[in-house]
Amino acid sequence: MNKMEAIGTLMERVADDALIVCCNGMIGRELFTAKNRPANFYMIGSMGLGLSIGLGLAIAQPNKKVIVLDGDGNVLMGMNVLASVGSEQPKNLWHVVLDNQTHASTGGQRTISGNVHLEEVARAVGYKAAYRAHDAPSFGAALDKAFAESGPNMVLATVEGGTLKGIARVEPSPPELAERFAREAQR
């Protein structure tokens, strides 16, 4: 499964009013290309902080479904925040990780997620559940199961590395992105 297939599998299951905080790197550009919507927050800098943004948002808006779309490089850089999620136990937070074992946007250098299973870290710090999937059907089934339960939980999908053709750059300016997202978040 490549990342666009994985993102498609996720977006088929995301309700219109669900809020998505997306990590920096290729994944944000791929989400922007696959399904741009005001309820997507594209974090284009501050690598590693997507989950912390999602946690603050989930606490501020306890009745909204918050999905953090993350990559292995981001999870490894911000691993401390998994502990904060385990400690705070936001019921409305789902952590979806696309794991290609590489830093795709800087040239495909390896990460260490081949040696460290991130869903095991999530379990160890107190996520309610954590799943690992290797193809589109098992990823879809894991998402269905996770979204039917309360959070916090993690669904990790192993995906192919490399970059895909036809991936756009996120267009609106950062303050515009923040403003339109805040409107959706507070609706």
Partner: protein, 171 residues
Amino acid sequence: MSHGKGGPSHAPEFVAALKANGFNFFAGVPCSLLKGLVSKLDTDPDAGYISATREDSALGMAAGAWLGGKLPMVLMQNSGLGVSVNALASLTTMYALPVLLVISWRGEGGNDAPEHIMMGEIMAPVLDLMKIPHRVLSASEPMEAQVAWAKVQMLSNGYPVALIVPGGVLE
């Protein structure tokens, strides 16, 4: 360095000023100079204080809270300002997400443990370089007016603002 400076802590008055100004999301990583403030927030169920593990992560949480409609404050030792430079540069300021930073001033006047000396000296210039307005919290002025100044700064500019806390004020 002003550990052990006499006089009562202004932490209760400071927290009351925060609440009166509408601050309703609190996260941070502690400092001994802020122990009165942390203790007051952490024992207040309404505050919902989040004991973060890194200062930049606390800023991420504050960013999410702001997007979700909260008015956030993040507290940290000034060592945490070093940890937070990229979060402030490529998240908080870039997206125009207001947050009140309450930063302790370890290393003030060059009189502190060695690990605090350089940051004590460069803290204010670093904030200036990042165009973050700041002022030193004074024990002899009402907390309400100082917090109100910070709120006006952050909301009118859509930017972070910092209150720098010397020893003896919020211990």
